[in-house]
Symmetry: C2
């Protein structure tokens, strides 16, 4: 109690990534089997040549999800998928998960079953085994932490720090839809709270709602890479938004990037709704997050392998670090891209 | 919203282990590499012969710990140790951990550093690498989930379901101290809350307080087993109390057990304080929990290997299932031992 006047720094001042860097600076490594520690989509452990890839992600009620508009089954599914996405982003195959859960006793057994039915549905869809976990009570709020464990091959794993000048920047699927879906759900929530009689009509926006509530991980892409003997030079999954992920690759690889606005894939429904919400569609794509698409770079000599794969878009090029991280707009201007993690604190 | 009147079962009605069984009943296995799933101290994954052992444990503020009397450094240390204990209980060696953390913004960066200094201290003490995790905010309360990953050999791993009739029941260290330490801290907390001017005097009870706030995992025992070529026939760590763990072994091995009260090791300070609190010392040892000692069974032919190892106590024998799980008291009576997990809900 004598330390009341000791130094006090607000967590918010460091930001999410600053905080991780700050806490990790005292991290010491004792095992030679630790090939990759904090700082990528997942850690890598060497088991006599066969690699084990491990990632952990937490979700907190009121911060990452709102149970007013999130069905518990979807929540369970999404909690698993967001972790599997990190394993795929290493170009590895997820095989096992553990689920740690704290819930208040206002939850019924049936509600918990709903949540687990989503967990099991994701396990089935991705061929992953639930092998352990912990379920305990909280005084308030729901907390989910999932650890996913996968297998990979040394020559095929993809990291964030291995992009090279001249590499092409590629992205799968389309971006910003999940963020726009969230805006829509938030709006409906406000309407519902101020007038509980009004039922939401979300039928016409099924696509963006689905991207927010039931995202999928790009297992298909990792399988397509393997089939076409393509190993990206770097890779990351898009959970915090394209801009933030691109900054991770550029910072860790010590390079810059130039992205063509015209090359950033945005779904027509995302575009329409963004405009309706008076949001810039490209901003939604750059900073929206929760897309769970893959951002990766390839050596230009692999262009032919990528060109004929569906759902992959080439949207820029890796350049020298001193050139920065820039967006070449459709109007012909060059803008700095700003990194932005989720600002939770 | 139309399901308001659907069936609603209180989580509390199932109990901790009932809930786990209930939720695990739909669990399907897709990977041949899953050698052991839910139901032991840890899960076991086969990596071409080398085994990966994985466990996850969660701790919730207000349920598992109280920040009024738990220093953050100790909390970080204990959170790691309780997970390592599960890996050792498989007769495996922990190598890696991931830490998932949710905290409210009332925490300062310095408070978080304190917590992580405990994490790192445990990593150093046990030669374990922190390889990943997630730190995010909560609206209220602190939530910690740690996953520990270890390595083991196929012929040496110890499970809960392999005890045989005639095996001797052994335990390391002593039991009940952590529980009695908790009672003491809770009492001081009440005194502090009703009269904040009174400073607690815990000097004389250092041992039980230490057992509660800064427990250790029995790495030394696992190393002693290896050195003496001893492979227990079954093993479990004591986190929920001796009775509960003994029931796990008996249920999963389809056997019964008889325990000699005189064989249950209790520290003199535990005994004295228990009596002061009007608690039965043997009840504290049987149901207290958080001892992080090892409960294991050995083939009688291995008796000589155990007899000369320090800090191991032989306290009973595995019998036929139909004989139940019994305590032979110092007074010569036979009592049923009742299982009791933590009743959190």
């Amino acid at each position: 109690m004598s330390d009341e006047k000791a130094k006090r720094t607000d967590i918010g001042t460091l930001g999410e990534f600053g905080l991780i860097d700050h806490l990790a600076k005292n991290n010491v490594q004792y095992n030679a089997s630790t090939l990759k520690s904090i700082g990528d989509d997942a850690a890598v452990i060497d088991n006599n040549g066969l690699l084990t890839v491990v990632t952990t992600d937490a979700m907190v009620e009121g911060i990452h999800f709102d149970l007013i508009y999130t069905p518990l089954k979807h929540l369970g599914y999404k909690a698993v998928v967001s972790n599997l996405s990190d394993i795929y982003a290493m170009n590895a195959i997820p095989k096992h998960i553990t689920v740690s859960l704290a819930i208040s006793n206002r939850f019924s057994v049936e509600a918990l079953e709903e949540f687990y039915s989503g967990i099991y549905a994701a396990c089935k869809a991705y061929g992953v085994d639930l092998i352990g976990g912990d379920t305990c009570s909280s005084n308030k709020g729901m907390f989910i932490s999932i650890t996913a464990i996968g297998q990979g091959e040394k020559e095929k794993l993809c990291y964030r720090n291995t992009a090279k000048v001249g590499d092409l920047i590629c992205v799968t699927g389309n971006l910003g839809a999940s963020f726009v879906g969230l805006q829509l759900l938030e709006r409906e929530r406000q309407i519902y709270l101020s007038n509980p009689g009004v039922q939401p009509d979300l039928e016409e926006q099924k696509y963006v709602i689905g991207r927010q509530l039931k995202p999928e991980a790009r297992r298909d892409m990792i399988e397509a890479f393997a089939k076409n003997n393509l190993v990206p030079t770097s890779m990351i999954d898009i959970s915090d938004g394209l801009a933030s992920e691109l900054f991770h690759i550029c910072k860790q690889s010590n390079v810059g990037a130039i992205v063509e606005e015209s090359g950033v894939p945005i779904h027509p429904e995302t575009e329409l709704l963004a405009i309706k919400f008076k949001l810039d569609p490209i901003t939604c794509a750059l900073s929206g997050g929760e897309d769970y698409e893959l951002l990766f770079t390839i050596d230009p000599k692999d262009l032919d392998k990528v060109k004929y794969l569906p759902d992959i878009y080439i949207m820029g090029e890796i350049v020298e670090r001193k050139e920065g991280v820039k967006l070449h707009t459709k109007g012909g201007n060059i803008h700095d891209i700003k990194a932005q993690g989720w600002l939770h604190f």
